[in-house]
Amino acid sequence: MGYKAKFRVWRGEGGEGKLEDFTVEVNEGEVVLDIIHRLQATQAPDLAVRWNCKAGKCGSCSMEINGKPRLGCMTRMSTFTEDETITVTPMRTFPVIKDLVTDVSFNYQKAREIPSFTPPASVKPGEYRMQQIDVERSQEFRKCIECFMCNNVCHVIRDHEENKTNFAGPRFLMRIAELDMHPYDVADRKDAAQEEHGLGYCNITKCCTEVCPEHIKITDNALIPMKERVVDRKYDPLVWLGSKIFKRSGSGSKG
């Protein structure tokens, strides 16, 4: 059942590094993260990789496998042919700390820039009453496991370091949409979404949606509806264009 696979893994630190070749055993049912762990246990004990749950629930083991952002724990070896060389590199948008581990502090900084949930002062804990249908839109976005692959793949910042200051990335623009669609949130988030968090940079190419391991429809259900909410106050040509090109679902506005 087992075979020897050819792996090329990016190794390095401090801004320098290179792809290193390995030949490593693969057994039935294994995922890429298993193979990285086997390399650690048998050939490269100091090979750095982030991981936690190994079940696709924590979003720690984001990496690029043959150039595509993936969770290492959810990428089965059976999706590759046995003679294929599998190239594993760190996420490109964030600075490398070592090997496959990147500095994702950008994301934590952006998280802190989004004003928090703001309920009306009059509602006490235990008094919240919400219908399932009204919480479902925000619940979809709360499935996010913060793997940061959407921010990694978004071309607004992937190859444009200069945009990082003014752009929260799909993950945190979706967070704004989540709060804006929360039945009890009373903060006005529309102007800030556009002016402070860079919603206007998004040109709805859906790269974030395609890469999301939780299959959240980030573009259709969060970013486009958020753009529509903003457009009440500002004209954004992309919303117009988007409404012509893409089929929308779950949109609608809270007012």
Binding site: E30, D34, N52, K57, R76, I97, Q132, Q139, I145
Partner: protein, 630 residues
């Protein structure tokens, strides 16, 4: 080399549910609080909790209340629980869940707009607040976002978001430091760059979770290396109930690389059934005497219960986890297992496909992606997996305080709340209730101090030498020692135990302790997992020794401790706790017996005499009768 140094009022180790809730409380009470965690912020093991948080809100069945929840918890733990903890937990869980909602959590709803509650093993009424099968993610994200909200508040007030609460992520604590008897700080290293770090702090809250990484087949993530258990032992605190380990009945069994990954109990709570290779719903054969009158005896009655709980009893698939895990183990051993060594868990013939995907989205996703199994069309194969340790730091129920002044513990790393077996859903609520209490306990302790204890330079030097030692040795690969420990514990101190095997395990652990002293870490200090594992080994070995020593002494079977050489439950043993401590140099473990305090009168009177009779001694029963006559 320079050691980075910080001063805080409260240092919380661990950023899962208990750690975050403790930190939030300490900060809300005005304490400068550090959260130190091994992973990134928001990735802790709590994220993997699926089913829900048990809280007697009575939203689905208004007959539910804290007393029913208390009784269920004590029964689940086979009456070994610290009853004061079980009482506080049952009383306070609803407030803790409602509070999350005010911080932005979005639980699934009932028709009248309240928080929906689902059925779970051992709970008399639908009781678990949940979000599909990803409740842990909701809980951790909500607490994470609450921390951020407090930081935003501090930024406005003080111009510094991290003035009162700061997260030190990917940072491992290797030693607690003491001044005299009391805690004075914590020492560790940054995983990212290997630099050393020291916290001067009079109060430390341990919230490091469990020990599952000492076993091969486990639902636990890499972080679960028993750090808090070991730090507490080495600081002079005591651990109780270490022999009780919960093997969750349903872990994935195939493919091998995912063996042990959790399959949520919600599958059964929502109607899923267990079958053996003969197609039989075997759980009807495994209802123990103590639960005989509470569970359905026919499939028809069990099935009716899902829609009419007033007139039917629960199906035995919803027995407490220890019972179900042993039953699965027995079926497989008797040759009635599935091809890959488990049994079948089937929801596909029980619910419409769309309903399965709605209620169990991550299970659907997990099986499809990792095992090529569509759970809406075919049964899953499942088997027991090491999931949770009931044992942990002996604490004061009200404050979370350990025996060492300044040391607190909450969540899985603490012991007592769950007795010999934890009910599903009682973990998330435990984290919230006792996380808050430990945070408040630490804050009150700091308020009561006349002077801050000082960290001694000697203790720092010793901690530094210990942390750097593996890097300075060219020794054995730590992965090999770890794998052997995992095999040893899995095979010899697993779900079914006996004196011979546990003794063999102790001998093996002794040898592994020697080998661990010689392990070396190749490479440098920057993000070096070999080095990190070499340091974690000390903790896993100490904890494994506690588990094995206590398991050898307890000559009965109860909850998460099954001895095939002592298969019965003993009323005498119920009154005894086994207390583990470390020798002063930390090289060995001692175990002492301690009497379990008798339950308070108003609490024991919540039970029927007939039920108590199954658990307690004649002497205790006489006391109960006297109490009732008064």
């Amino acid at each position: 080399m320079e050691i980075e140094r910080h001063e805080y009022d409260v240092v919380v180790i661990g950023a899962g549910g208990a750690g975050l809730r403790a930190a939030i409380e300490a900060r809300q009470q005005g304490k400068r609080t550090a959260i130190v965690c091994k992973s990134l912020f928001g990735k802790a093991h709590t994220v993997m909790a699926e089913g829900g948080a048990a809280a007697a809100m009575g939203n689905v069945n208004s007959d539910d209340n804290w007393m029913v929840h208390f009784r269920d918890t004590m029964r689940g733990g086979k009456f070994l629980n610290n009853w004061r903890m079980a009482e506080l937990h049952a009383k306070e869980a609803p407030d803790r869940v409602w509070e999350l909602e005010a911080w932005g959590a979005l639980f699934d709803r009932t028709k009248d707009g309240k928080i929906s509650q689902r059925n779970f093993g051992g709970h008399e009424y639908p009781r678990l607040a949940h979000v599909g099968d990803r409740t842990g993610l909701e809980l951790i994200r909500t607490l994470q976002q609450r921390v951020v909200a407090l930081q935003q508040e501090d930024e406005k007030l003080h111009g510094d978001a991290e003035a009162y609460i700061k997260v030190f992520q990917e940072c491992t604590i290797t030693r607690l430091l003491k001044s005299g008897d009391a805690v004075s700080g914590a020492f560790g290293y940054w995983r990212e760059n290997g630099r050393l770090i020291l916290f001067d702090a009079p109060a430390v809250v341990l919230a490091t979770g469990g020990i599952g990484k000492s076993y091969v087949v486990t639902s636990n993530s890499w972080e679960y290396t028993g750090d808090g258990h070991a730090l507490a032992l080495l600081a002079g605190a005591k651990l109780i109930n270490m022999e009780f380990i919960q093997f969750h009945p349903t872990g994935m069994v195939w493919p091998p690389s995912v063996r042990g990954i959790l399959v949520t109990e919600s599958v059964r709570g929502d109607g899923g059934v267990l079958r053996n290779s003969e197609g039989k719903r075997f759980m009807f054969d495994y209802i123990p005497d103590v639960f005989k009158d509470k569970y359905a005896t026919t499939e028809e009655e069990g099935d009716r219960w899902y829609t009419d709980q007033a007139n039917n009893r629960r199906p035995p698939e919803l027995l407490p986890r220890d019972e179900v895990a042993r039953a699965i183990n027995a079926e497989v051993k008797a040759g009635r297992g599935s091809p890959q060594g488990g049994v079948y868990l089937d929801v596909s013939t029980r619910l419409p496909a769309a309903e399965i995907v709605r209620r169990l989205p991550s299970m659907h996703h997990q099986f499809k992606e990792l095992a090529d199994v569509d759970i809406t069309k075919e049964p899953m194969q499942v088997g027991p997996t090491c999931h949770y340790i009931m044992g942990g730091v002996e604490v004061d129920a009200d404050t979370g305080a350990a025996a060492v002044p300044g040391l607190f513990a909450a969540g899985e790393v603490s012991g007592g709340m769950h007795g010999s077996n934890r009910l599903g859903g009682n973990s998330l609520s435990d984290l919230l209730v006792f996380g808050r209490r430990a945070g408040a306990g630490a804050a009150a302790y700091v308020d009561g101090l006349k002077a801050r204890p000082a960290v001694s330079e000697d203790s720092v030097a010793a901690a530094k030498a210990e942390a750097l030692a593996p890097l300075e040795r060219a020794g054995e690969n730590p992965y090999e020692v770890h794998q052997e420990l995992q095999r040893t514990m899995n095979e010899l101190v697993g779900i079914i135990r006996n004196a011979d095997e546990v003794s063999q395990a102790l001998e093996a652990v002794e040898k592994l302790k020697e080998r661990a002293k010689g392990v070396g870490a190749a490479g440098g200090r920057i993000y070096n997992p070999g080095w990190h594992l070499a340091l974690d080994l000390r903790n896993m070995l100490l904890v494994s020794e506690c588990v094995a020593r206590a398991a050898l002494l307890r000559e009965e079977s109860r909850g998460g401790h099954t001895r095939d050489d002592f298969p019965g439950m003993s009323a005498e043993w119920r009154r005894k706790l086994l207390v583990c401590g470390a020798s002063p140099d930390g090289s060995s473990i001692t175990v002492e017996e301690k009497v379990q305090p008798a339950m308070r009168g108003d609490l024991i009177k919540l039970f029927d005499r007939a039920e108590l009779k199954k658990y307690i001694t004649e002497e205790e029963l006489a006391d109960f009768d006297a109490l009732v006559r008064e």
